[in-house]
């Protein structure tokens, strides 16, 4: 079966000529959640931006369902670290943004928005504006906004990176729950090993400068995970050792 997302020989060099990514090959299957993990500056966000179509690769290409990516599109929803809600729209307005573009009738749009706001527990806040929300609530809106547009793929760029530790774990639980219902194909960028092991079907560990894939871990844990189970901590320890090597290299 053809992979949902095929990343083939992708490299990226920015204007200063310094390579950020070198020769990335990665296939992501439909309904799979892949975590991209690596030290800051390893190019994991760059890779995500290439898949999203915000950046063009210097060499190589990205295929989605066999079609090359040439720009951003509604088939690939994106959730950003800084939320990036539209401040002039209400919570409901933000969630309805995608369906509005495609001319979905008002009634249906309302229902869709209500369903996803319910899913992220914000039904009661539908008429508020983003300034009135906390960081965790904003990110919930951003997730609902992406889901309401029913993309087959969701790209998440350190979505919980700006949140405090408690909120972060709650949102990880919620995302895990949502994924068990929605079955999206997700690429999730993070620098938290714990988060990657908790959420990922696979964890891709990247090396830094230029970013390459160092190792891919299949996380063979149950769908509902326990952060304190022995096999969980074992994955965590193993990946930590690998990442430490990389971080040490940067400091040498």
């Amino acid at each position: 079966m053809m992979a949902k997302i095929q990343i083939a020989g992708v490299s990226k060099a920015f204007g200063n000529g310094v390579p950020a990514l070198a020769g990335i090959d990665l296939d992501v299957a439909a309904r799979e959640l892949v975590c991209l993990l690596g030290p800051s500056g390893c190019g994991k966000s760059t890779l995500l931006n290439i898949v999203a179509g915000f950046l063009a690769p210097t060499t190589g290409r990205v295929l989605v369902d066999g079609t090359p990516v040439t720009g951003p599109g509604a088939d690939r929803g994106v959730v950003f670290q800084e939320y990036v809600l539209f401040p002039w729209l209400t919570v409901a307005g933000n969630v309805e943004f995608g369906p509005t573009l495609t001319g979905v009738p008002t009634e249906e749009r309302r229902r869709t928005a209500a369903r996803y706001l319910e899913m992220v527990g914000l039904r009661a806040h539908a008429e508020k504006f983003p300034v009135q929300l906390s960081g965790g609530m904003k990110q919930r809106v951003a997730i609902a906004r992406a889901l309401a547009n029913s993309p087959s793929i969701i790209l998440m760029d350190e979505p919980f990176g700006a949140l405090d530790a408690q909120t972060r774990e709650i949102l990880q639980d919620e995302l895990s729950k949502i994924q068990r219902v929605e079955h999206k194909t997700i690429i999730f960028v993070t620098h938290s090993i714990r988060e990657a092991v908790y959420l990922g079907d696979r964890v891709v560990v990247m090396t830094s400068a230029p970013g390459c894939i160092k190792q891919v871990f299949d996380i063979k844990l149950p769908d509902v995970r326990d952060r304190f189970a022995p096999d969980f901590t074992q994955y965590e320890a193993e990946i930590t050792r690998l990442v430490k090597e990389e971080v040490a290299k940067v400091h040498e």
């Binding site: 179509g53 599109g73 539209f86 300034v131 547009n149």
Partner: protein, 249 residues
């Protein structure tokens, strides 16, 4: 609100003290320093015979027409220039060359081109107010966060969607400020234009006050302009607050 009224009353009191005091000590020829009472009686007379309202309406119409034309042009060109780099690179040097020329330096040219009628005034106001509004609109649009555009594009927005649903609402605060500045400037230059080549308008009223040596009429004209400016500014501020209240509070 109360402190504002108080401040204005204090200003009025200061004027009254100086003007009526001068009547007593005669530090200056009393004719040269009108008192509030004189200005009020001149104003009442001008209201009675309709000259004040007529001139006010004349000036206001010119301002609204000139400002309206410039606002539409600045919005369109400013947005286009900000979105389209080649156009911006072409427009920028021209505008940055013309903009620093004091507009009043070109006023005689407008009178030569358009005569003494309404057209020259309206065109002159449009010309003057276009530049600051263009610069403000273009800067506002240029400063729209690229992440907002990315978010919208990943939700399926086309180029037209991006302009209508992201760029314009995101730049709205800057656009409103640009319009306010433009209107303030229109009020500023209409007087100059009416000083030179007009037979009606508040500027003309003031100039007649000089010609016929009627200082209270000069002060009246200036005060009416002040009121008009404050009124419109308050109106625009209210619009701004209503639009932005929920969003950027």
């Amino acid at each position: 609100m109360r402190s504002r009224v108080l401040a204005l009353l204090l200003l009025l009191a200061a004027w009254a003290v100086v003007a009526y005091g001068n009547r007593v000590v005669e530090a200056m020829n009393p004719v040269l320093l009108p008192t509030p009472g004189e200005v009020v009686s001149v104003t009442v007379a001008a209201l009675r015979d309709g000259t004040l309202l007529r001139n006010l309406l004349t000036s206001f119409t010119r301002i609204v027409e000139g400002f309206g034309i410039a606002a539409v042009a600045a919005l369109t060109l400013g947005t286009l220039a900000a979105l389209c780099a080649p156009l911006r690179l072409m427009l920028e040097p021209v505008i940055e060359f013309v903009r620093p020329i004091p507009p009043l330096a070109f006023l005689p040219m407008f009178l030569v081109w358009f005569g003494l009628g309404e057209t020259s005034k309206v065109a002159f106001i449009a010309y003057t107010t276009f530049f600051p509004m263009f610069v403000g609109v273009a800067a506002g649009v240029l400063r729209v966060d690229v992440m907002l555009l990315r978010a919208a594009a990943s939700l399926g927005a086309t180029r037209a969607d991006l302009v209508r649903r992201v760029v314009l609402p995101a730049a709205l605060p800057a656009i409103i400020v640009a319009l306010r500045l433009g209107f303030g400037l229109a009020l500023f230059v209409i007087v100059g234009a009416e000083f030179i080549g007009a037979d009606a308008g508040l500027g003309n009223l003031i100039m007649e006050g000089r010609t016929y040596f009627n200082p209270p009429a000069i002060v009246m004209g200036a005060l009416v302009l002040g009121f008009l400016g404050s009124l419109v500014n308050a109106l625009l501020l209210t619009v701004e607050r209503r639009v932005l209240h929920t969003t950027y509070r």
